[in-house]
Amino acid sequence: MTALLEIRNLQAEIAGRKILDGLDLTVNAGEVHAIMGPNGAGKSTLSYVLAGKPGYEVTGGEVLFKGEDLLAMPPDERAAKGVFLAFQYPLEIPGVATMTFLRAALNAQRRKRGEEELSSPDLVKRVRETAKNLGIDAEMLRRPLNVGFSGGEKKRNETMQMALLEPLLCVLDETDSGLDIDALKIVANGVNQLRSKERGMIVITHYQRLLDYIVPDIVHVLSAGRIVRTGGKELALELESTGYAQYQSEAA
């Protein structure tokens, strides 16, 4: 069976500086992988390379998404094919109501997949339901996207977008940071509802706490641009007490 995502010996640079250095990772449909690792290790870089952010130059290796060459696809096509990135720092778009943004995104993806656009009433209904499930106030949908949202509200909003767009590969970059304990449960619950046979997830986090709620199948340590250790969910607990010192010295 083809893996949902297969990364082989990925090398990537930003501004001429090598950040990813021989990264291997395979995610099968239905699996949840957690990636942990020290600041600056290249976790966000990995997520951006998968999403196709300009400025991130792939200098080696390959990435297959359902057997297709992901790196050859323009970023909007990757999104339409089901790659979703919940940003570590979600962006603000002044003057664009959250609902307007969601409509634009959802319909842009549907058009690219040759599907019918959603009618306004259908769309509004779906958005409202999804928002409610994540404890997002309907009033917030009228506000410009992420403008003046608290850190936690932004992260909830990312989760809502993910739930609406129903991607196949979800990459969550520190979605837990900035969430209070109640919000963490709500967001984790939202993410858990998205777990399914067809869908794979990469959850980037610094905290074991999130993994109490979103229980991963596999945990990886990313250090100095490559996966240096892989284990089960108990690896997260171990890291909690040992830290990353051993991996950093190994990588250095």
């Binding site: 952010k53 970023p75 940003f87 778009i93 002044p94 003057g95 664009v96 634009a104 959802l106 410009p144």
Partner: protein, 498 residues
């Protein structure tokens, strides 16, 4: 003169025809000879069957114009215009006829589709003829009606306006039918001597609209609705005069989101608004003249003088403009706040792409007491374009308690364009309070990528972000146009990135 007289008679008979059928009939173009002289002015006046006083008015303007020089202070560059090498009059001429929508440039059709303009309207705007074999007149009329049932709609509107006592007609008709009103107000806001282009317009204006709303009357419809259906060739020297008498209200929309082409490169319109006590005029413009090709060749020069006079106490004039077209835009819709407690507003979106040059803004001239004004300007520069906001806010000695708020925001797309802000502020009354805010920013690559990660194409992302940037101004437009304008904004920025 005989030839002229003959043409005049022909034009008259055509006018009657037009009236009978209520839609613009095809007539062959007849142009005045090239160049500008007293004879040209007389020719135009004769064509319009104008009374002697109107001809005199034009001639006076013409003589004044001879003594003036073209202004050079705007931040726009263009080859010197040879005023003797232009045509100053050509009878309204329908677009080149085509027999079906299939013959229209697919690019243009695509634009209409994106704007969401229904095909039957496209057929009208692009002048589609009935299929061969249906070419006889009776059938043709049916075809036209089938393509667009504007005739009955227009008639209903006309009746409704008449009932309310609103006068709304071409200014050429108003000169003949309501000479007292025209004499009283024409040139009372923009005098014939005002500036080079306005003076030229006064001498040779082709046609335009005249609106008079009597005291206490709220115009029963957005004049936009009517206009959209009826507008055809308004000509290169458009002249518009709108008067809201005491306590009256009118909202007027000029222009069209549909792409506008014209053989005449130079356009110099004049618009005058007069608001008496407690009256309000809302004037909205959507301008989408041909901007020239991708190398910057061709395109309309749009040198416009628009001014509103808040002549009465508590009157209000509000300008809203969406400027996306033209190779060169030179345009400063202004308000003279003469009446005490009067209010002027200017809401502007000016988009430039390719090699377009925009120098636009407003003047708020506070003369009366407790007058207020508000300026919200959004400039978007992309491609290799230059986009300048030029604004003047003044308070005269007697303008006690004058207030102004100005916010000028510029957004740059790419790194080969320029945005400039040139505000002038003068207060001769120490109680005046003027606030000015200005920002210039580049469209954020990170924000664009965020949108693209959600599935939007690069162009859709730019369109969305820019529409957010201009939202405060879009909200000022009449509803039905706001939606189209929003699409137009996205379209005008196509090809601006990547």
């Amino acid at each position: 003169m005989a030839a002229v007289q003959e043409t005049v008679d022909r034009v008259r008979s055509i006018d009657v025809e037009q009236y009978k059928y209520g839609f613009v009939t095809e007539i062959e173009s007849d142009k005045a000879p090239k160049g500008l002289s007293e004879d040209t002015v007389r020719f135009i006046s004769a064509k319009k069957s104008e009374p002697a006083w109107m001809l005199e008015w034009r001639l006076e303007a013409y003589r004044r114009w001879l003594t003036m020089t073209e202004p050079g202070w705007a931040r726009v560059e263009y080859p010197k215009i040879d005023y003797q090498d232009l045509y100053y009059y050509s009878a309204p001429k329908p677009k080149k006829q085509v027999s079906s929508l299939d013959e229209i440039d697919p690019e243009i059709l695509k634009t209409y589709e994106k704007l969401g303009i229904p095909l039957r309207e496209v057929a009208m705007l692009e002048g589609v003829e009935p299929r061969p074999g249906e070419a006889d007149t009776a059938k043709r009329k049916i075809a036209v009606d089938a393509v667009f049932d504007s005739v009955s709609v227009a008639t209903t509107f006309k009746e409704e306006l008449m009932k309310a006592g609103v006068i709304f007609m071409p200014i050429s008709e108003a000169i003949r039918e309501h000479p007292d009103l025209v004499k009283k107000y024409l040139g009372s806001v923009v005098p014939t001597s005002d500036n080079f282009f306005a003076t030229l317009n006064s001498a040779v204006f082709s046609d335009g609209s005249f609106v008079y709303v009597p005291p206490g009357v709220r115009c029963p419809m957005e004049l936009s609705t009517y206009f959209r259906i009826n507008e055809r060739n308004t000509g290169q020297f458009e002249r518009t005069l709108i008067i809201a008498d005491k306590g009256a209200y009118v909202s007027y929309l000029e222009g069209c989101t549909a792409p506008q082409r014209d053989e005449n490169q130079l356009h110099a319109a004049v618009v005058e608004l007069v608001a008496l006590d407690d009256a309000e005029i809302k004037y909205s413009t959507v301008q989408n003249w041909y901007p020239g090709n991708s190398e910057g060749v061709g395109g309309i020069y749009n040198f416009v003088t628009k001014r509103g006079d808040c002549r009465g106490a508590n009157s209000k004039i509000s300008w809203t403009q969406v400027e996306t077209g033209s190779a060169i835009t030179w345009k400063y819709p202004s308000c003279i706040l003469r009446g005490d407690n009067s209010r002027g507003e200017f809401y502007s979106i000016a988009i430039s792409n390719g090699y377009q040059q925009v120098d636009s803004g407003t003047k708020m001239i506070h003369l009366g007491r407790n007058t207020t004004s508000r300026i919200i300007s959004k400039g978007i520069a992309a491609g290799k374009s230059q986009n300048t906001y030029r604004g003047l806010v003044t308070a005269h000695r007697k303008a006690t308690g004058a207030r102004n708020f100005t916010a000028c925001d510029s957004l740059l797309i790419g790194d080969q364009c320029g945005a400039h802000t040139v505000p002038y502020v003068e207060a001769k009354n120490s109680s005046a309070l003027f606030e000015h805010e200005a920002t210039t920013s580049k469209i954020s690559e990170d924000v664009l990528f965020y949108c693209i990660q959600r599935g939007l194409s690069q162009e859709e992302a730019v369109g969305l972000v820019v529409n957010g940037f201009v939202k405060d101004v879009l909200q000022q437009l009449p509803m039905e146009f706001a939606v189209e304008a929003q699409k137009l904004i996205s379209i005008s920025l196509e090809g601006s990135v990547g």
